[in-house]
């Protein structure tokens, strides 16, 4: 059985077991879905941003550490749809494999489909270019199944893990800057100022961003990485920490992690398959704290003061939880809000926390006390959110990309 399938299966078994023990209900005392002050009209799209958001979301979880937090302000309490584009039908390709998380930089929105990569104008969503590749796939962080591995962007380039290579494209026109066909990509790339790190068929590999030559490979089976403070943290069958310069393995722990590892202030945040959220020292992997409520805490977003996560009890309503970060101790719950059944994705800015969930759509909460400010009742579940200075871009599994912002 392929490792991703086995992990998905084990994750399902673990979640089901935990849910049956926990009584299938969220630990949030809140009752009822939030009632936001403003509802975004879903089918009314403007012609685009009057002022293009002046920031980027260059990785699926914003940065190489996967914090999911952009230090910007949305600065509106009554957003509207600025543009909407279906990237699965904007060209003649027979693309039916779903869309990856979006990344945004240089006023360009980029997403991968199973058969290629698409770039849109951030201003109005028009297609800039499209290149055909067979994308690598990774297990979904939201639901069961696989999605195309999302790209990452840095220094005017788009980096991709494909089924037969690792590729760098120019953001401007999509031309291939370099392509390394020594290995095939198997996960989500991470780019830093120093190098590109990609899960490959040989293990996790480091590439030179200028010409794509492979610098080292460490045998590890992870599909999602975080890079921070000179360390690569790999989420696979185990959590493995590797020296980013030498590839020396520093520590490994059997946490059976899911989703992205998050590294903030030398603490690694790991969502375990059995529902716990664990904080480990980046230095030596020792456990600093653990939140184990018998229900899975997923998709952690870590800001300088807070941790946000989705509690999924299995067969009952989920809940968005906000925790206060405490030095060397488990984060303490600050607020929670019940949301409907199903997976969710989250992201945060300085003035809001965003939860995209199947039945409720996108809900924006205030960070301090979780007051629902606005809601975008989309008819789909998002794969990811990109939070910008004055706007949000989301993409659905079928390739509908929506930009919200303005008044």
């Amino acid at each position: 059985m392929p490792s991703t399938l086995r992990r998905t299966f084990l994750g399902m078994v673990a979640t089901g077991t935990v849910a049956s023990i926990a009584g299938c209900s969220s630990s949030c005392p809140d009752s009822g879905a939030p009632d936001p002050s403003h509802t975004v009209e879903p089918r009314t799209a403007n012609s685009g941003f009057e002022t293009v958001p002046d920031s980027s979301w260059p990785s699926p979880r914003f940065d190489a550490a996967n914090t999911g937090y952009a230090p910007v302000k949305i600065a509106t309490t009554t957003p509207s749809v600025q543009w909407q584009t279906d990237i699965s039908t904007t060209s003649a390709s027979n693309d039916t494999g779903g869309a990856s998380a979006v990344v945004v930089a240089d006023e360009t929105v980029v997403s991968t489909m199973s058969t290629g990569v698409v770039a849109l104008s951030l201003r109005d969503g028009t297609e800039q270019w499209r290149r055909e590749f067979t994308s690598a796939t990774v297990p979904s962080t939201v639901d069961i199944g696989d999605n195309p591995a999302p790209p990452v962007m840095a220094n005017g380039r788009v980096y991709l893990a494909t089924a037969d290579s690792v590729v760098a494209l120019a953001v401007d026109d999509g031309t291939v800057v370099w392509r390394n066909t020594d290995v095939a990509g198997t996960g989500v790339p991470v780019v830093t100022d120093a190098a590109l790190f990609v899960p490959t068929t040989d293990g996790v590999a480091r590439f030179d961003t200028t010409d794509g030559h492979r610098q080292w490979t460490v045998p590890a089976d992870g599909t999602r990485l975080a890079v921070a403070d000179g360390t690569v943290v790999i989420n696979g069958e185990q959590v493995v920490a590797v020296d980013a310069d030498t590839s020396e393995v520093r520590w490994r722990r059997s946490d059976r992690p899911t989703g992205y590892p998050v590294v903030v202030d030398r603490t690694v945040y790991v969502s375990g398959s059995y529902g716990e959220l664990i904080g480990r020292s980046l230095t030596d992997g020792t456990e600093q704290w653990r939140i184990d409520r018998g229900r899975s805490l997923e998709v952690p977003v870590v800001t300088p003061e807070s941790v946000y996560a989705i509690e999924r009890p299995g067969e009952a309503s989920s809940a968005t939880f906000a925790f206060d970060r405490v030095d060397d101790s488990p984060p303490e719950p600050r607020w929670c809000s019940e949301i409907n059944l199903g997976g969710a994705v989250t992201a945060a800015a300085d003035d809001g926390v965003f939860t995209f969930q199947r039945d409720d759509g996108l809900t924006a909460f205030t960070t301090r006390f979780g007051e629902a400010v606005w809601q975008y009742p989309a008819e789909y579940q998002a794969v990811s959110l990109a939070v910008l200075d004055g706007g949000i871009v989301s993409v659905s599994p079928d390739g509908t990309v929506v930009a919200l912002g303005g008044e």
Partner: protein, 207 residues
């Protein structure tokens, strides 16, 4: 000594009226965060959520306890001069008020998922409302027939008017926007009238 304690019960009843008025003040008047979208684990003092979760139950329990103390003082003061039937009604009214306090304590201290405790509280409330309704009306009627019609009218008016308003509400007739104030107004007026009576009338007046 007992006469002094009757007098002290007067201001205590006035205090219960103040507690009730603060308790029913709309949460929109208090600072944010207010109840609604999320459960806040440690709300700031005097915020709408803190008032709803901490202050309001404390005020309702206090008001309830103070009313019980005040009515008990009236009963002790006037018990000797009451007819046997009036004493029975007065005792029923006091038991009802005590049960109401017990129900309130049970309800306000119940956790989010303690449905059994909440159900018990509702049953106790239902019994207490019956006892209060008939007890206070019967007790007040005795005063109306004697030389204390104002005290009697207050004791009759509070349960009667509250019952009428409650009945209208149950029948689907919408109360005005200040409906909650209207609902507690009879009780508030009763506590003020009974408190004033305790403060100004000595037991020797009736004996």
């Amino acid at each position: 000594m007992w006469r002094r304690s009757y007098r002290i019960a007067g201001p205590l009843l006035a205090l219960s009226a103040v507690c009730l008025l603060i308790a029913i003040a709309p949460l929109e008047l208090w600072p944010t965060p207010r109840p609604g979208d999320s459960y806040v684990f440690n709300p700031p003092l005097f915020s709408g959520i803190w008032v709803q979760r901490t202050l309001r139950p404390a005020l309702i329990i206090s008001a309830n306890a103070l009313v019980l103390v005040g009515l008990s003082a009236v009963f002790r003061r006037d018990g000797a001069s009451m007819s046997r039937l009036q004493r029975v009604f007065a005792f029923a009214g006091l038991v009802g008020t005590g049960l109401c306090l017990l129900g309130t304590l049970l309800f306000t201290t119940a956790g989010p998922n303690e449905i059994g405790r909440e159900l018990t509280a509702f049953l106790i409330w239902a019994l207490s409302f019956l006892l209060i309704f008939f007890g206070l009306i019967g007790w007040g009627a005795g005063y109306v027939r004697s030389e204390k019609p104002r005290l009697g009218a207050a004791l009759i008016g509070a349960p009667a008017l509250t019952g009428v308003l409650f009945g209208l509400s149950l029948a689907g007739i919408e109360l005005p926007s200040m409906g909650r104030l209207l609902l507690i107004a009879p009780t508030t007026v009763m506590t003020l009238v009974v408190g004033y009576d305790l403060w100004t009338h000595q037991v020797s007046d009736d004996s």
